[in-house]
């Protein structure tokens, strides 16, 4: 059954293990990510979500202390058959910690397209549209040529998202894209994700179960470097099969319970 899944999947891993130094951070994860859908990864802090995401576009190649084992397939073909830069152009990524380049806001977003030789008006159009889609345009349109280091935390996060969007990838890896955003901005980004889902595969790491509920088609629950449970969002979130998943979701529900006590709202 897994086999069939894998074949149809946009992106799939088989027995993925990642080691930092000697320590295993992922201990054999087999997961299929279907195209045109949102797959949410949830799990406690430190369980390996970011590690998993970074494996998918071969980020671990860049650090000498990380080692990856197992297979990763894009459209059914091992990703190491592709030159890494081609792979990474097809698989965009937003890192957990905003990492704007030390250059202007414009140059940050233009970085990717410029690599492909896009110039002039066309480049400006791409930058502008990417910033708009990342809900940042209004805040920065007057200071496009200022240093990106002068942006607030949430602005930096959206800038990095815009930077990834500007490449128009086939797969988008989002590591907590809304962690530094207010509810309004979060709403806009969620609308964007919902829209992008029509055209690409999205892997979304999120700590907000609500966000997973709102956006995810499928949910994968990680714990301790293992994939504990995976399936359609409604099933995993509402009728989890595994004890660990249930426990994790129940703790998350502390919020809900609490909220109930918060008093009713005006409207």
């Amino acid at each position: 059954m897994m086999r069939g899944d894998t074949a149809r999947a946009k992106l799939a891993t088989r027995g993925l293990r990642v080691y930092y130094g000697g320590r295993a951070a992922l201990r054999g994860v087999s997961l299929a990510v279907p195209d045109r859908s949102v797959t949410a990864l949830i799990g406690p802090s430190g369980c390996g979500k970011s590690t998993f995401l970074r494996a998918l576009n071969r980020m671990h190649d860049l650090r000498h202390d990380a080692r990856v084992e197992g297979r990763i397939l894009l459209d059914g073909r091992p990703i190491d058959r592709l030159p890494p830069e081609v792979l990474r152009r097809r698989i965009g990524m937003l890192f957990q910690r905003p990492n704007p380049f030390p250059m202007s806001i414009f140059q940050n977003v233009a970085f990717g397209p410029a690599l492909l030789g896009v110039r002039g008006k066309e480049l400006e159009r791409i930058v502008c549209s990417a910033l708009q889609r990342a809900a940042l345009w209004n805040e920065v349109k007057g200071r496009l040529h200022q240093h990106a280091g002068g942006l607030s935390g949430g602005q930096q996060q959206r800038l990095c998202l815009a930077r990834a969007l500007a490449m128009e990838p086939e797969v988008l890896l989002l590591d907590e894209p809304c962690s530094a955003l207010d509810p309004g901005a979060t709403e806009e980004i969620e609308r964007l994700i919902a829209e992008l889902r029509c055209s690409m595969a999205i892997v979304l790491v999120t700590h907000s179960l609500e966000q997973a509920r709102r956006l995810a088609d499928r949910v994968a629950f990680f714990q301790d470097g293992r994939l504990v449970e995976e399936g359609p969002a409604a099933e995993v979130l509402e009728r989890p099969q595994q004890q660990e998943t249930r426990r994790f979701l129940a703790r998350g529900d502390w919020h809900r319970t609490c909220r109930g006590n918060g008093g009713s709202q005006g409207e």
Binding site: L62, H64, E85, R88, R89, N99, P102, F111, R163
Partner: protein, 277 residues
């Protein structure tokens, strides 16, 4: 700020004051000694025996040797820094780095002698002439400053936040693009420091250049002509000079300081300055 902190800060400030004062003192000493000769420096002929102290040929020599050697050494040095910081495996870097470092401590005389025994005859054989030439000076000097540039560049490039590198790779940049469009601009201040250090060293270097440059006090008209630098001139003649000649040498020393300051500041400005940080 507690007491120890105040003390430490005062000590540092004092240190800076002393160092700056030292430099001022040197500059002053040199200028005072050279002052009377100043009006004599503006000429095109340096011939102390005839009472001619025009520094133009020496200035030209210094400028050309420095320019020539940096033109060779800066790209090569930054390239090597990049190689060590980003391209080479740790093991390979562990071989190349000490080799470069070894080169950094080869004393000027040895460089000079190797230049004398290898480069000068080679130039003489290939291009004819004495072999003692601008070209020989540039080559020797380029080798001398290369390790400094490489070491400082490597460190500047390594200091770039790895998260930025990852960000660029994640956008599908090739290693070359990452280096060219991200690492080099991000490390600009450190690279400028590398160049500025090399510049100072090149302008100030004496022995090795002296030995291979031919030291004719004339503006060279081709890379194969001999040339004489300001420092070489001082080194050559200071031991014997007296009177006006000695003053002229000191004045040319002051000129050298000035030249160095000007070029350094220009380099900083060209690189966008540290102010950008």
């Amino acid at each position: 700020m507690d007491v120890r902190d105040r003390l430490a800060r005062a000590a540092l400030a004092a240190l800076a004051a002393v160092a700056s004062a030292g430099v001022l003192l040197i500059a002053l000493a040199v200028t005072v000694e050279g002052w009377p000769a100043l009006p004599h420096l503006f000429g095109a002929v340096w011939s102390p025996e005839d009472g001619k102290f025009g520094v133009l040929p020496l200035l030209a020599g210094s400028a050309l040797v420095t320019l020539g050697s940096l033109t060779l050494a800066v790209p090569a040095g930054i390239g090597l820094g990049l190689f060590l910081a980003d391209v080479a495996s740790p093991r390979l870097a562990g071989v190349v780095r000490p080799a470069l470092q070894g080169m950094a401590a080869v004393p000027s005389v040895v460089f000079g002698f190797l230049g004398l025994n290898l480069i000068v005859p080679w130039i003489s054989r290939v291009f004819g002439g004495l072999g003692f030439s601008l070209l020989a000076g540039c080559l020797v000097l380029a080798f001398m400053v290369l390790p400094t540039i490489a070491a400082v560049s490597e460190d500047a490039l390594r200091a770039v936040d790895p998260a930025l590198r990852e960000g660029a790779y994640a956008l599908g940049a090739t290693p070359g693009q990452v280096a060219w469009r991200l690492l080099l601009p991000a490390a600009k201040s450190g690279l400028t420091a590398a160049v500025v250090l090399a510049l100072g060293r090149a302008l100030g270097e004496t022995m090795a250049v002296l030995m291979v440059l031919g030291n004719a006090a004339a503006v060279p008209r081709s890379p194969l002509d001999p040339a004489r630098t300001l420092t070489g001139n001082i080194a050559l003649e200071m031991a014997y000079a007296a009177g006006r000649h000695r003053e002229a040498l000191f004045a040319s020393g002051a000129l050298l300081l000035l030249l160095n300051l000007a070029v350094t500041q220009a380099a900083r400005l060209a690189a966008g300055g540290r102010a950008a940080r």
